[in-house]
Symmetry: C2
Subunit: 364 residues, 2 copies
Amino acid sequence: MSPRSVAVVGAGLIGGSVARAAAEIGAQVTVADPDPAVRDKVAAAGIAAAVGADPREAVAGADLVVVAAPVPEVPAVLEAVAGACRADAAVTDVGSAKAEIVAAGQAALGGSFVGGHPMAGSERHGFGAARADLFRDASWVLTPTEATAVEAYAAVRRFVTSLGARPVALHPDVHDEIVARLSHLPQLAAAALVSVALDGAQEQEALLALAAGGFRDATRVAASRPDLWVGIVRFNRHAVVDALAQLGHEVDGLRRLVERERWDDLAGYLERARAARLERFAKPVAAGPPVALELVIPDRPGVLAQVTTAAGRLGVNIEDLRIVHAPELHRGRLDLVVSGDAAADALQAALEGLGYEVSVGEPW
Amino acid sequence: MSPRSVAVVGAGLIGGSVARAAAEIGAQVTVADPDPAVRDKVAAAGIAAAVGADPREAVAGADLVVVAAPVPEVPAVLEAVAGACRADAAVTDVGSAKAEIVAAGQAALGGSFVGGHPMAGSERHGFGAARADLFRDASWVLTPTEATAVEAYAAVRRFVTSLGARPVALHPDVHDEIVARLSHLPQLAAAALVSVALDGAQEQEALLALAAGGFRDATRVAASRPDLWVGIVRFNRHAVVDALAQLGHEVDGLRRLVERERWDDLAGYLERARAARLERFAKPVAAGPPVALELVIPDRPGVLAQVTTAAGRLGVNIEDLRIVHAPELHRGRLDLVVSGDAAADALQAALEGLGYEVSVGEPW
């Protein structure tokens, strides 16, 4: 069941697309944005029941709150809305770095905050580029931790699924390490490639127009807004430093291979990269019919993070999730749905290895 | 006037596209390829009057010979066809590195060899990916030198124009420096980015599927064939080493900015890259009506390289070119057509600065 009312704070590319997509699935949408020109565009789009400047007003009646402000502003927005939203509302964000934001969100909102990061977007920005189908078939990372309430997690998970995304649960630290390499590093590397091209051009600057498709592809993201990216890198600086150090190491290694004319080693290096690019970065696909797993669990929130992290490591996507409380026994049951017997078997084995009691059930 | 007969040696993506495009403009096409399976495909495509294994047979009657073998094989092919093609045939190649190939081509064929490099292609390979429109609006670099015959240059230039490409004349060394940064470096950097993603993944390898559009764009060329790229890098190793060293320097600089939390400097770096990516790597466009320049020239081939290099530095594209010999005077006239008065004025000034007598004429 999707939320009946969704508040979106920040109507840029991501927030605007969330608002459009939520309106399309029939939710009542309220939007807050600090920019009057953006508010005018949202109002003109006819997708929101209310559009205003104050996040606290926008979130007041919502079942679900999506904070889509630039990363450095997210903690302050979460603090501002904490006193204004309903006690049973689930609150999420869409920031590209998670550990600091999740800590801030849980300090402000407790278990009802669930960190999120849709792996979608482009070098375009702003409400004008927003599309209701931006998230279709995209991965959407959610980052539950020990402190996350299962009800809030399930509500956010259902919402992003209803937008067409594939939710993937990861620990915030794991997310930040992964996106440092898969997103933040390519962003910085694109700027570095442009800089090398410029420095090398000198008096042949006109010849930069010779850049062909390979260069254009490799540097497309360099057209993104610097202020947004600096904010993201600030919130993930340790992992980004590690990733840059590793890229520097790889580039040095390549330089030495070429200098020493070690052509077979260079061919091997390129072949490994080629095979990986073709095979390992494919989008996840549903592999088989739904299979349900039932776990007997102690009634504490840390279980969820442990389960979702185990699934993430196996590459098993949790398709659906619900919890059956039995508070009088101080335990309960967590029901999961995954795709295909192979995924179910792998996850069952991993969870049993972690000491859980797991059985196969009926998808609900 | 396009050549009546074109021989293509090597029917991969580029050679196959040349053959298809030449057939489309009405030339008689002969093709040589060492691979029987490729020959079958070319024969089945119905674009060639003859398809065989021996380059010497294919080139025997051709007005124009296009050698589209992998870069390391080009020198041997040029030597093989040198004794087999007509004395008045123009011979060109399509290799992605030029200085070594031009030296080999001129040793084998003298002034009738003109180095070439179409700035088109993709991570796809083989005759199956060949398209007659691959070169439409793409830049096609030609690399005349002191030793290049003007007639051969003009014939190759007209041919690539007839395929829809925009010829750009550059010195082979200038070409090699530029493509090291605009093409060979992005290729190697894509492999390095994939390697960093793989090394960082470790037990989270399944999470590589989270890679979003930015990573996919930045690493698309990593799917290219390693053997072809090793051959290209071998033939341009000095410029590639320089470019890799410069990229390493940029990446180190970025790492230090992030480590030291110098966010304003990082924003400035990204902003410069963004502005350049949006403005300076645009495709060249014709700017204005054709304007003809006439140069009185000493009757020696070095003039052509000097003129085309001057035009390349100014970003002025030579749209057409012909030479009027006056051997009895030991001098002649070189007629050039460029687009627009601004380009004509700039080139005239540069050529007068080099000591040439230049006047504005009528486009022919």
